[in-house]
Amino acid sequence: DWSVKYGNSDEPVPARFDINAPDLYIPLMALVTYVLVAGFVLGTQGRFTPEQLGLLASNAVAWLVLENFFILVTKYVMNISQALSLWHTLAFSSYKFVGMIISLLVFLAFGRTAYYWTLGYFAVAVAFFLIRTVKTFVLEGPGAYAQDGGTKRKLYLLLFISLTQPFIMWWLTSSITNFVPGKMDLAEMAMAGIGMGAAKVGGAVGGAKAFVQPDGEVDYEALLRAP
Protein backbone atom coordinates (compact mmCIF):
# COMPACT_ATOMS: atom_id res chain seq x y z
CA ASP A 1 0.00 0.00 0.00
CA TRP A 2 1.67 3.17 -1.19
CA SER A 3 -1.04 5.73 -0.58
CA VAL A 4 -0.78 8.63 1.81
CA LYS A 5 -3.35 8.77 4.60
CA TYR A 6 -5.48 11.84 5.13
CA GLY A 7 -6.80 13.18 8.40
CA ASN A 8 -10.09 14.72 9.39
CA SER A 9 -9.73 18.05 7.68
CA ASP A 10 -8.63 16.58 4.35
CA GLU A 11 -5.02 17.40 5.15
CA PRO A 12 -2.28 14.80 5.07
CA VAL A 13 -1.54 13.16 8.37
CA PRO A 14 1.83 14.13 9.93
CA ALA A 15 4.78 11.88 9.27
CA ARG A 16 4.67 10.51 12.78
CA PHE A 17 1.53 8.55 12.03
CA ASP A 18 1.87 7.66 8.39
CA ILE A 19 4.80 5.78 6.96
CA ASN A 20 4.16 7.04 3.43
CA ALA A 21 4.02 10.73 4.21
CA PRO A 22 7.06 12.61 2.94
CA ASP A 23 8.98 14.58 5.52
CA LEU A 24 12.20 16.51 5.28
CA TYR A 25 14.19 14.79 8.03
CA ILE A 26 15.66 11.98 5.92
CA PRO A 27 16.40 14.30 2.98
CA LEU A 28 18.20 16.82 5.16
CA MET A 29 20.21 14.19 6.99
CA ALA A 30 20.97 12.41 3.72
CA LEU A 31 22.30 15.60 2.17
CA VAL A 32 24.62 16.38 5.07
CA THR A 33 25.72 12.75 5.36
CA TYR A 34 26.53 12.72 1.66
CA VAL A 35 28.77 15.79 2.12
CA LEU A 36 30.45 14.10 5.06
CA VAL A 37 31.00 10.75 3.34
CA ALA A 38 32.25 12.45 0.18
CA GLY A 39 34.70 14.45 2.28
CA PHE A 40 35.82 11.25 3.96
CA VAL A 41 36.43 9.52 0.63
CA LEU A 42 38.38 12.54 -0.58
CA GLY A 43 40.40 12.36 2.61
CA THR A 44 41.37 8.76 2.01
CA GLN A 45 42.57 9.83 -1.44
CA GLY A 46 44.59 12.69 0.05
CA ARG A 47 42.48 15.32 -1.63
CA PHE A 48 40.67 16.76 1.39
CA THR A 49 40.76 20.39 2.41
CA PRO A 50 38.01 22.04 4.51
CA GLU A 51 37.06 24.16 1.51
CA GLN A 52 36.06 20.98 -0.26
CA LEU A 53 33.26 20.53 2.25
CA GLY A 54 31.79 23.85 1.24
CA LEU A 55 32.25 23.04 -2.44
CA LEU A 56 30.56 19.66 -2.12
CA ALA A 57 27.66 21.09 -0.16
CA SER A 58 27.14 23.99 -2.55
CA ASN A 59 27.31 21.66 -5.54
CA ALA A 60 24.71 19.28 -4.15
CA VAL A 61 22.39 22.09 -3.06
CA ALA A 62 22.74 23.80 -6.44
CA TRP A 63 21.71 20.65 -8.28
CA LEU A 64 18.77 20.19 -5.94
CA VAL A 65 17.62 23.76 -6.42
CA LEU A 66 18.02 23.50 -10.19
CA GLU A 67 16.06 20.29 -10.38
CA ASN A 68 13.24 21.58 -8.20
CA PHE A 69 13.05 24.87 -10.01
CA PHE A 70 12.77 22.97 -13.27
CA ILE A 71 9.97 20.83 -11.89
CA LEU A 72 8.19 23.93 -10.57
CA VAL A 73 8.34 25.70 -13.91
CA THR A 74 7.24 22.55 -15.72
CA LYS A 75 4.26 22.23 -13.43
CA TYR A 76 3.05 25.70 -14.27
CA VAL A 77 3.79 25.35 -17.95
CA MET A 78 1.84 22.12 -18.16
CA ASN A 79 -0.98 23.54 -16.06
CA ILE A 80 -0.85 20.94 -13.34
CA SER A 81 0.33 23.27 -10.63
CA GLN A 82 -1.80 21.77 -7.88
CA ALA A 83 -0.39 18.32 -8.33
CA LEU A 84 2.77 18.36 -6.30
CA SER A 85 3.84 21.10 -3.93
CA LEU A 86 7.40 22.39 -3.78
CA TRP A 87 8.14 20.86 -0.39
CA HIS A 88 7.08 17.44 -1.61
CA THR A 89 9.30 17.59 -4.66
CA LEU A 90 12.15 18.80 -2.45
CA ALA A 91 11.66 15.82 -0.18
CA PHE A 92 11.28 13.31 -3.00
CA SER A 93 14.27 14.60 -4.94
CA SER A 94 16.55 14.33 -1.92
CA TYR A 95 15.93 10.64 -1.40
CA LYS A 96 18.59 9.87 -4.00
CA PHE A 97 21.31 10.98 -1.59
CA VAL A 98 20.76 7.83 0.42
CA GLY A 99 21.75 5.73 -2.58
CA MET A 100 24.74 7.96 -3.25
CA ILE A 101 25.99 7.57 0.31
CA ILE A 102 25.85 3.79 0.16
CA SER A 103 27.51 3.76 -3.28
CA LEU A 104 30.38 5.86 -1.96
CA LEU A 105 30.82 3.58 1.05
CA VAL A 106 30.86 0.56 -1.25
CA PHE A 107 33.46 2.34 -3.38
CA LEU A 108 35.62 2.77 -0.28
CA ALA A 109 35.30 -0.84 0.69
CA PHE A 110 35.27 -2.72 -2.60
CA GLY A 111 36.48 -0.53 -5.46
CA ARG A 112 35.07 0.93 -8.63
CA THR A 113 33.27 -2.02 -10.16
CA ALA A 114 31.24 -2.64 -7.04
CA TYR A 115 30.55 1.09 -6.91
CA TYR A 116 29.09 1.08 -10.42
CA TRP A 117 26.90 -1.94 -9.68
CA THR A 118 25.62 -0.34 -6.47
CA LEU A 119 24.96 2.93 -8.22
CA GLY A 120 22.98 1.12 -10.91
CA TYR A 121 20.92 -0.76 -8.34
CA PHE A 122 20.11 2.40 -6.38
CA ALA A 123 19.24 4.31 -9.53
CA VAL A 124 16.68 1.66 -10.41
CA ALA A 125 15.44 1.51 -6.81
CA VAL A 126 14.98 5.27 -6.54
CA ALA A 127 13.21 5.42 -9.89
CA PHE A 128 10.87 2.62 -8.84
CA PHE A 129 10.17 4.23 -5.47
CA LEU A 130 9.49 7.60 -7.00
CA ILE A 131 7.23 6.24 -9.69
CA ARG A 132 5.16 4.35 -7.15
CA THR A 133 4.94 7.07 -4.50
CA VAL A 134 4.55 10.09 -6.69
CA LYS A 135 2.02 8.33 -8.89
CA THR A 136 -0.14 7.63 -5.88
CA PHE A 137 0.37 11.13 -4.61
CA VAL A 138 -0.40 12.79 -7.87
CA LEU A 139 -3.34 10.65 -8.90
CA GLU A 140 -5.07 10.41 -5.53
CA GLY A 141 -3.82 13.54 -3.86
CA PRO A 142 -5.52 16.84 -3.18
CA GLY A 143 -5.25 18.03 -6.77
CA ALA A 144 -6.64 14.91 -8.35
CA TYR A 145 -10.24 15.94 -8.48
CA ALA A 146 -9.72 19.13 -10.43
CA GLN A 147 -11.75 19.71 -13.53
CA ASP A 148 -9.03 18.92 -15.95
CA GLY A 149 -7.17 16.05 -14.31
CA GLY A 150 -4.25 16.26 -16.66
CA THR A 151 -3.30 12.69 -15.94
CA LYS A 152 -1.10 12.24 -18.97
CA ARG A 153 0.86 15.40 -18.24
CA LYS A 154 1.28 14.44 -14.64
CA LEU A 155 2.66 11.10 -15.67
CA TYR A 156 5.11 12.76 -18.04
CA LEU A 157 6.29 14.97 -15.19
CA LEU A 158 6.64 11.92 -13.02
CA LEU A 159 8.73 10.14 -15.62
CA PHE A 160 10.92 13.19 -16.01
CA ILE A 161 11.52 13.34 -12.25
CA SER A 162 12.35 9.66 -12.12
CA LEU A 163 14.78 9.80 -15.02
CA THR A 164 16.79 12.76 -13.77
CA GLN A 165 17.61 11.01 -10.51
CA PRO A 166 20.07 8.44 -11.91
CA PHE A 167 21.84 11.11 -13.92
CA ILE A 168 22.38 13.40 -10.94
CA MET A 169 23.40 10.49 -8.76
CA TRP A 170 26.08 9.53 -11.24
CA TRP A 171 27.22 13.11 -11.87
CA LEU A 172 27.73 14.02 -8.23
CA THR A 173 29.59 10.87 -7.27
CA SER A 174 31.73 10.47 -10.36
CA SER A 175 33.97 13.40 -9.56
CA ILE A 176 34.85 11.74 -6.29
CA THR A 177 35.32 8.23 -7.53
CA ASN A 178 37.21 8.69 -10.79
CA PHE A 179 40.47 9.43 -9.02
CA VAL A 180 43.26 7.10 -9.93
CA PRO A 181 46.37 7.97 -7.95
CA GLY A 182 49.42 8.54 -10.10
CA LYS A 183 47.65 8.81 -13.41
CA MET A 184 46.46 12.33 -14.07
CA ASP A 185 45.14 11.74 -17.58
CA LEU A 186 44.29 15.25 -18.63
CA ALA A 187 47.47 16.75 -17.22
CA GLU A 188 49.61 14.07 -18.81
CA MET A 189 47.90 14.52 -22.14
CA ALA A 190 48.64 18.23 -22.01
CA MET A 191 52.23 17.58 -21.06
CA ALA A 192 52.63 15.20 -23.94
CA GLY A 193 51.22 17.89 -26.18
CA ILE A 194 53.96 20.34 -25.27
CA GLY A 195 56.65 17.79 -25.76
CA MET A 196 57.17 16.41 -22.30
CA GLY A 197 56.24 12.79 -22.51
CA ALA A 198 55.97 10.18 -19.84
CA ALA A 199 59.01 9.39 -17.76
CA LYS A 200 59.99 6.30 -19.70
CA VAL A 201 60.11 8.16 -23.01
CA GLY A 202 62.89 10.35 -21.78
CA GLY A 203 63.30 13.99 -21.15
CA ALA A 204 65.90 15.43 -18.87
CA VAL A 205 63.44 16.86 -16.43
CA GLY A 206 61.92 13.51 -15.49
CA GLY A 207 58.86 13.71 -17.64
CA ALA A 208 55.40 14.92 -16.88
CA LYS A 209 55.05 13.43 -13.43
CA ALA A 210 57.37 15.92 -11.84
CA PHE A 211 54.93 18.73 -12.31
CA VAL A 212 51.66 17.12 -11.37
CA GLN A 213 50.62 17.58 -7.76
CA PRO A 214 48.78 14.88 -5.79
CA ASP A 215 45.39 16.47 -6.14
CA GLY A 216 45.59 16.55 -9.91
CA GLU A 217 46.64 20.15 -10.33
CA VAL A 218 49.61 21.08 -12.47
CA ASP A 219 52.36 23.13 -10.84
CA TYR A 220 52.69 25.83 -13.47
CA GLU A 221 55.42 27.80 -11.78
CA ALA A 222 57.77 24.85 -11.65
CA LEU A 223 56.89 24.03 -15.23
CA LEU A 224 57.80 27.52 -16.38
CA ARG A 225 61.05 27.43 -14.47
CA ALA A 226 62.08 24.15 -16.04
CA PRO A 227 64.77 24.35 -18.75
Binding site: L28, M29, T33, G39, G43, T44, P50
Partner: protein, 254 residues
Protein backbone atom coordinates in the same frame (compact mmCIF):
# COMPACT_ATOMS: atom_id res chain seq x y z
CA UNK B 1 18.47 36.30 37.69
CA UNK B 2 15.52 37.75 39.51
CA UNK B 3 16.53 35.85 42.62
CA UNK B 4 19.73 37.88 42.69
CA UNK B 5 17.72 41.07 42.77
CA UNK B 6 15.63 39.82 45.64
CA UNK B 7 18.66 38.87 47.68
CA UNK B 8 20.10 42.23 47.08
CA UNK B 9 17.38 44.06 48.90
CA UNK B 10 18.11 43.09 52.48
CA UNK B 11 15.81 40.10 52.12
CA UNK B 12 12.80 42.26 51.63
CA UNK B 13 11.72 39.72 49.01
CA UNK B 14 11.85 37.00 51.61
CA UNK B 15 9.96 39.09 54.09
CA UNK B 16 7.36 39.67 51.48
CA UNK B 17 5.83 36.29 51.95
CA UNK B 18 5.90 36.29 55.71
CA UNK B 19 2.98 38.58 56.17
CA UNK B 20 3.40 40.49 59.39
CA UNK B 21 6.65 42.10 58.57
CA UNK B 22 5.26 43.62 55.43
CA UNK B 23 4.79 46.91 57.17
CA UNK B 24 8.16 46.89 58.90
CA UNK B 25 10.17 46.41 55.76
CA UNK B 26 8.56 49.26 53.94
CA UNK B 27 11.68 51.29 54.19
CA UNK B 28 13.53 48.61 52.30
CA UNK B 29 10.82 48.73 49.66
CA UNK B 30 11.06 52.40 49.13
CA UNK B 31 14.54 52.38 47.71
CA UNK B 32 13.82 49.73 45.05
CA UNK B 33 10.34 50.36 43.93
CA UNK B 34 10.66 48.82 40.50
CA UNK B 35 10.61 45.30 41.89
CA UNK B 36 7.08 45.64 43.10
CA UNK B 37 5.46 44.60 39.83
CA UNK B 38 6.86 41.10 40.33
CA UNK B 39 4.94 40.73 43.55
CA UNK B 40 1.31 40.40 42.39
CA UNK B 41 1.68 36.78 41.34
CA UNK B 42 1.10 35.89 44.98
CA UNK B 43 -2.03 34.43 46.56
CA UNK B 44 -5.03 36.56 47.52
CA UNK B 45 -4.29 36.67 51.23
CA UNK B 46 -1.05 38.37 50.49
CA UNK B 47 -2.74 40.79 48.15
CA UNK B 48 -3.92 42.68 51.16
CA UNK B 49 -0.37 43.13 52.40
CA UNK B 50 0.61 44.24 48.93
CA UNK B 51 -2.07 46.89 48.88
CA UNK B 52 -1.19 48.00 52.41
CA UNK B 53 2.49 48.17 51.56
CA UNK B 54 1.64 49.95 48.35
CA UNK B 55 -0.35 52.66 50.08
CA UNK B 56 2.27 53.19 52.78
CA UNK B 57 5.11 53.26 50.32
CA UNK B 58 3.29 55.59 48.00
CA UNK B 59 2.64 57.99 50.81
CA UNK B 60 6.18 57.68 52.00
CA UNK B 61 7.82 58.63 48.76
CA UNK B 62 7.34 62.30 48.52
CA UNK B 63 9.93 62.82 45.86
CA UNK B 64 12.76 60.97 47.56
CA UNK B 65 12.57 58.14 45.02
CA UNK B 66 15.79 58.93 43.26
CA UNK B 67 17.99 59.50 46.28
CA UNK B 68 19.10 56.10 47.42
CA UNK B 69 21.41 57.46 50.07
CA UNK B 70 18.52 58.93 52.01
CA UNK B 71 16.47 55.77 51.91
CA UNK B 72 18.79 53.02 53.09
CA UNK B 73 18.81 52.63 56.82
CA UNK B 74 21.59 50.13 56.89
CA UNK B 75 24.72 50.69 58.88
CA UNK B 76 27.24 53.19 57.58
CA UNK B 77 26.83 55.69 54.77
CA UNK B 78 24.94 55.02 51.54
CA UNK B 79 27.88 54.14 49.31
CA UNK B 80 29.58 51.58 51.49
CA UNK B 81 26.32 49.70 51.97
CA UNK B 82 25.74 49.60 48.22
CA UNK B 83 29.27 48.33 47.70
CA UNK B 84 28.81 45.55 50.20
CA UNK B 85 25.47 44.73 48.65
CA UNK B 86 27.06 44.07 45.29
CA UNK B 87 27.30 40.50 44.13
CA UNK B 88 30.61 38.71 44.01
CA UNK B 89 32.29 39.15 40.64
CA UNK B 90 31.83 35.59 39.41
CA UNK B 91 28.14 35.58 40.25
CA UNK B 92 27.67 38.87 38.52
CA UNK B 93 29.44 37.60 35.43
CA UNK B 94 27.31 34.48 35.56
CA UNK B 95 30.23 32.05 35.70
CA UNK B 96 29.36 29.24 38.01
CA UNK B 97 32.31 26.88 38.36
CA UNK B 98 30.27 24.18 39.99
CA UNK B 99 27.87 24.02 37.04
CA UNK B 100 30.77 24.03 34.61
CA UNK B 101 32.36 21.14 36.45
CA UNK B 102 29.09 19.22 36.56
CA UNK B 103 28.47 19.70 32.87
CA UNK B 104 32.01 18.64 31.97
CA UNK B 105 31.63 15.50 34.05
CA UNK B 106 28.27 14.86 32.38
CA UNK B 107 29.95 15.08 28.98
CA UNK B 108 32.84 12.86 29.94
CA UNK B 109 30.49 10.19 31.23
CA UNK B 110 28.06 9.45 28.39
CA UNK B 111 26.07 6.88 30.32
CA UNK B 112 25.47 8.96 33.43
CA UNK B 113 22.49 11.21 34.10
CA UNK B 114 22.40 14.87 34.84
CA UNK B 115 19.78 17.27 36.08
CA UNK B 116 17.91 19.60 33.79
CA UNK B 117 18.62 22.77 35.68
CA UNK B 118 22.37 22.35 35.38
CA UNK B 119 22.00 22.30 31.61
CA UNK B 120 19.57 25.19 31.67
CA UNK B 121 22.37 27.39 33.00
CA UNK B 122 23.47 28.49 29.56
CA UNK B 123 27.02 29.67 29.83
CA UNK B 124 29.34 30.01 26.89
CA UNK B 125 32.61 30.14 28.80
CA UNK B 126 33.14 26.38 28.78
CA UNK B 127 32.31 25.97 25.07
CA UNK B 128 34.67 28.80 24.19
CA UNK B 129 37.51 27.15 26.09
CA UNK B 130 36.83 23.79 24.42
CA UNK B 131 36.71 25.33 20.93
CA UNK B 132 39.98 27.12 21.53
CA UNK B 133 41.45 23.89 22.87
CA UNK B 134 40.34 22.09 19.70
CA UNK B 135 41.80 24.80 17.50
CA UNK B 136 45.00 24.79 19.51
CA UNK B 137 45.36 21.05 19.13
CA UNK B 138 44.88 21.41 15.37
CA UNK B 139 47.56 24.09 15.49
CA UNK B 140 49.91 21.51 16.96
CA UNK B 141 49.21 19.48 13.84
CA UNK B 142 50.19 22.35 11.59
CA UNK B 143 46.68 23.28 10.52
CA UNK B 144 45.54 26.84 11.16
CA UNK B 145 41.83 26.25 10.78
CA UNK B 146 40.15 28.45 13.39
CA UNK B 147 38.00 30.04 10.72
CA UNK B 148 36.67 26.68 9.60
CA UNK B 149 35.95 25.64 13.18
CA UNK B 150 34.04 28.85 13.72
CA UNK B 151 32.12 28.56 10.46
CA UNK B 152 31.22 24.91 10.87
CA UNK B 153 30.30 25.58 14.50
CA UNK B 154 27.94 28.41 13.60
CA UNK B 155 26.28 26.47 10.78
CA UNK B 156 25.98 23.38 12.97
CA UNK B 157 24.49 25.30 15.89
CA UNK B 158 21.98 27.12 13.71
CA UNK B 159 20.96 23.89 12.03
CA UNK B 160 20.61 22.08 15.35
CA UNK B 161 18.58 24.99 16.77
CA UNK B 162 16.18 24.94 13.84
CA UNK B 163 15.85 21.15 13.92
CA UNK B 164 15.27 20.94 17.67
CA UNK B 165 12.68 23.68 17.60
CA UNK B 166 10.80 21.80 14.95
CA UNK B 167 11.11 18.41 16.61
CA UNK B 168 10.52 19.18 20.26
CA UNK B 169 7.20 20.22 21.72
CA UNK B 170 8.74 22.97 23.82
CA UNK B 171 11.38 24.99 22.07
CA UNK B 172 15.02 25.47 22.94
CA UNK B 173 16.93 28.72 22.91
CA UNK B 174 19.94 29.35 20.72
CA UNK B 175 22.34 29.91 23.60
CA UNK B 176 21.31 26.61 25.13
CA UNK B 177 22.04 24.81 21.84
CA UNK B 178 25.40 26.53 21.50
CA UNK B 179 26.23 25.74 25.11
CA UNK B 180 25.39 22.03 24.84
CA UNK B 181 27.13 21.56 21.49
CA UNK B 182 30.18 23.43 22.75
CA UNK B 183 30.50 21.37 25.91
CA UNK B 184 30.27 18.12 24.01
CA UNK B 185 33.15 19.23 21.78
CA UNK B 186 35.50 18.13 24.57
CA UNK B 187 36.03 14.56 23.25
CA UNK B 188 36.80 16.00 19.80
CA UNK B 189 39.41 18.24 21.39
CA UNK B 190 40.90 15.16 23.05
CA UNK B 191 40.83 13.33 19.70
CA UNK B 192 42.68 16.11 17.94
CA UNK B 193 45.25 16.20 20.75
CA UNK B 194 45.74 12.52 20.05
CA UNK B 195 46.01 13.25 16.32
CA UNK B 196 48.76 15.74 16.97
CA UNK B 197 50.95 12.98 18.29
CA UNK B 198 49.88 9.92 16.31
CA UNK B 199 48.45 9.95 12.83
CA UNK B 200 44.82 9.00 12.57
CA UNK B 201 44.84 7.88 8.94
CA UNK B 202 44.53 4.16 8.80
CA UNK B 203 41.90 1.70 9.92
CA UNK B 204 42.71 1.99 13.64
CA UNK B 205 42.60 5.77 13.43
CA UNK B 206 39.25 5.74 11.67
CA UNK B 207 37.78 3.45 14.30
CA UNK B 208 39.08 5.63 17.16
CA UNK B 209 37.63 8.71 15.45
CA UNK B 210 34.25 7.10 14.92
CA UNK B 211 34.18 6.10 18.57
CA UNK B 212 35.01 9.65 19.64
CA UNK B 213 32.27 11.05 17.39
CA UNK B 214 29.80 8.54 18.82
CA UNK B 215 30.82 9.59 22.34
CA UNK B 216 30.23 13.27 21.52
CA UNK B 217 26.90 12.64 19.87
CA UNK B 218 25.68 10.40 22.69
CA UNK B 219 26.52 13.01 25.32
CA UNK B 220 25.02 15.89 23.42
CA UNK B 221 21.85 14.01 22.54
CA UNK B 222 21.50 12.98 26.17
CA UNK B 223 21.83 16.62 27.26
CA UNK B 224 19.37 17.80 24.60
CA UNK B 225 16.84 15.16 25.50
CA UNK B 226 17.13 16.11 29.17
CA UNK B 227 16.62 19.79 28.42
CA UNK B 228 13.76 19.45 25.95
CA UNK B 229 12.12 16.48 27.64
CA UNK B 230 11.77 14.42 24.46
CA UNK B 231 12.35 10.96 25.71
CA UNK B 232 11.77 8.55 22.85
CA UNK B 233 13.54 10.65 20.24
CA UNK B 234 17.12 10.45 21.49
CA UNK B 235 18.31 8.57 18.42
CA UNK B 236 16.67 11.13 16.13
CA UNK B 237 18.55 13.89 17.95
CA UNK B 238 21.77 11.89 18.11
CA UNK B 239 22.09 11.55 14.35
CA UNK B 240 22.32 15.29 13.55
CA UNK B 241 24.80 15.68 16.41
CA UNK B 242 26.77 12.78 14.89
CA UNK B 243 26.90 14.69 11.61
CA UNK B 244 28.06 17.94 13.22
CA UNK B 245 30.81 16.24 15.19
CA UNK B 246 31.70 14.11 12.18
CA UNK B 247 32.63 17.26 10.31
CA UNK B 248 34.90 18.27 13.18
CA UNK B 249 36.42 14.80 13.10
CA UNK B 250 37.18 15.22 9.39
CA UNK B 251 39.04 18.41 10.28
CA UNK B 252 41.00 16.58 12.93
CA UNK B 253 41.91 13.53 10.87
CA UNK B 254 42.76 14.92 7.44
Amino acid sequence: MSSYWMDDQNNSGGDWTSGNQGQASNDGWASFDYTQPSAPIQQPQQQSYYSQAQSTVNSGYGGNMFNPAQQTLGAGGGESVNFEDELPLLEELGINFDHIRQKTVAVLNPVGTTSAEVIADQDLAGPLVFCLLFGGALLLHGKVQFGFIYGIGVVGCLGMYALLNMMAAGGISLTCTVSVLGYCLLPMALLSLLAAGLTLQGMVGYIISIMAVLWCSLSSSKLFVTTCAMDSQQLLVAYPCFLVYGVFALLAIF
